[in-house]
Amino acid sequence: MTLAVDVTARRGAFEVRAAFEAEAGRTVALLGPNGSGKSTLVSTIAGLVPPVEGTIALDDAVLDDPANDVHVQPERRPIGVVFQDLLLFPHLSAIENAAFPLRARGVPKPEARQRASELLARLGLANRAGAHPRDLSGGEAQRVALARALIVEPALLLLDEPLSALDVGARMRVRELIRDELAGFPGVRIIVTHDPVEASILAERLVLLEDGRVSQTGTPEEIRAAPRSRYAADLVGMNAFRGILEPLEVGAGLLVTDEGDIVAPWPDGFEGGEAIGLLRPSDVTLSLDLPDGSARNVVQGRVTSISVEGDRARVRIASAPPLVAEVTLASVERLGLRDGVVTWASFKAVEVEILPA
């Protein structure tokens, strides 16, 4: 079963243009910063906001095709949605919330309650079935919302920012729960989030959404290996510079940014203009004295933060432009790097990857 989305959706003045596919069995994460259009897409896929043009189809069943006047109402779509604000019905108890989709489809009350009760028990809420949303903790409420979406065994499951409202402790627990539930869910699964860690853990494929456009799709590893946008680079912790690439010499250009200039290779066929430069932190060399190697980019600045990850450290330097360097802990020790220490940073031009903006 595959969900094929190829739409332009509009909400107010904001427009989203997205084309991607999601297969059953491989969770897709729509990943993007706030304001990138994720929620609009969710509303469109759910059927609440008809697209301006394009199509949405689940295998052969066309859900939206404005050109041919096709728009299947949300209540007729085989979907289950967990909303960002959960939107649990405040006047119903947990079990009544979970049973709601069944009751709405005419399932008799005893059977609906039975199934809801079982599902809540499976999610660890057996003894909270009678509680009302206002008496539930964040994590409990999240699970009720999940139960409510799952109970009709929909073909398509949409989770909109499922963890964003939870505190750290609840987040980890609920994330594990969602991962387990998703693993056992046979239909199409789409998660919407702004958190790349969440996306990487819960999804097998990422669709990056920026400013209403899809900028890249792929597995987390593929994106990590070859980010194609500033956002993707930021996500995976790369240095990203945005500026105008001007010719410097044969085969090389100067990327002029607001925060500083860097020498970078001139991509084949590039005509100049706006460009993004990507640089891996591990390609940045730090030293206490002015380096005199072949590196074309040499800058100096104060260390503003050092964060340790395993046996490596990410060092932020307030140079022009600002840089993130990744070095071994041993190097940190050897160089005596601490907040406030002035250090030199250098990297070769050829280590910078230029992408047209």
Partner: protein, 275 residues
């Protein structure tokens, strides 16, 4: 809902808050209460409590009571059946002239009741009424001097209260809950029945109570349009008025009855106002 700990229901204001009411406010508030309480107190003291059983079991009082209950309840029901869809349309749709429609609907609130009665005659009178004359000539239906006229008059004056209360309720409703219900498979009718109306419970109760109370107390439009006849159009306020001319004691007694009725309804529904 940002933390994992159980949220506690809202508590009374903190001790720091409680002491902070300005003295001037207390004085003004007390004056406000006095303004309303004094006439009530006067009524209670002037009521001939020894005679009250006799008066209230008299044919006049019983007929007026029965009629008032029927008229007020019917008026509140009609107001609701017509007012709910209207409130919905006013809140959830736009159309040219919406502001005007809203102004017209609220007009009976500020209209002197006798003027409302004259208006009702102009519309529904059998002789010169816009619709009324047509009804009379073609179907022999006359509205004036009937209980239906009393209901019509009461509905006219209580309708705006229903619409305003329901409008406020609908505006405060989170429409996204209805969206969520749709994605969960609920048809529009099911959403209305099981989500919208239950969530509007307190506002619906308020609308019904307000319009019922207003309908109960309606006088000017009733006496002008429906007339005054025991058992047919003489509601409690009309009975009080008539008795005021001849038997003031009885008038006070029936007035107390009206007040008890109103109190009973307001207090009885108090639980619904606070969820």
């Amino acid at each position: 809902m940002a933390t994992d700990s159980r949220r506690s229901p809202s508590t009374a204001s903190s001790p720091l808050r409680r002491g902070r009411i300005p003295a001037g406010f207390v004085v003004l508030a007390a004056l406000g209460v006095a303004l309303v309480a004094l006439p009530l107190l006067g009524l209670v003291l002037r009521t001939p409590w020894s005679r009250i059983a006799d008066v209230l079991t008299s044919e006049t009082a019983l007929a007026a009571l029965r009629l008032s209950l029927i008229v007020a309840t019917t008026a509140a029901a009609i107001s609701f059946v017509l007012g709910f869809p209207l409130a919905w349309v006013l809140v959830r749709s736009t159309f040219p002239g919406k502001t005007l429609v809203r102004a017209i609907v609220v007009l009976p609130l500020v209209m002197p009741p006798v003027v409302a009665g004259v208006g009702l005659l102009a519309a529904f009178g059998r002789r010169s009424g816009l619709i009324g004359s047509w009804l009379y000539e073609w179907f022999g239906i006359q509205l004036t001097f009937t209980t239906a006229a009393a209901v019509l008059a009461a509905t006219f004056v209580s309708f705006p209260l229903t619409v305003l209360a329901l409008e406020a309720g609908l505006r405060g409703l989170d429409e996204r809950l209805e969206d969520a219900a749709a994605t969960l498979g609920a048809s529009r009718w099911y959403v209305l029945r099981r989500v919208t109306v239950p969530l509007l419970g307190p506002q619906i109760a308020a609308a019904l109570v307000l319009s019922w109370a207003r309908a109960l107390g309606e006088f000017g439009a009733t006496i002008t349009f429906a007339g005054n006849l025991q058992g047919r159009t003489q509601t409690l306020p009309l009975a009080v008025f008539e008795q005021l001319q001849t038997d003031t004691d009885a008038a006070f007694a029936v007035s107390m009855l009206l007040i008890f009725l109103a109190f009973a309804v307001i207090l009885g529904l108090r639980g619904r106002f606070l969820r």
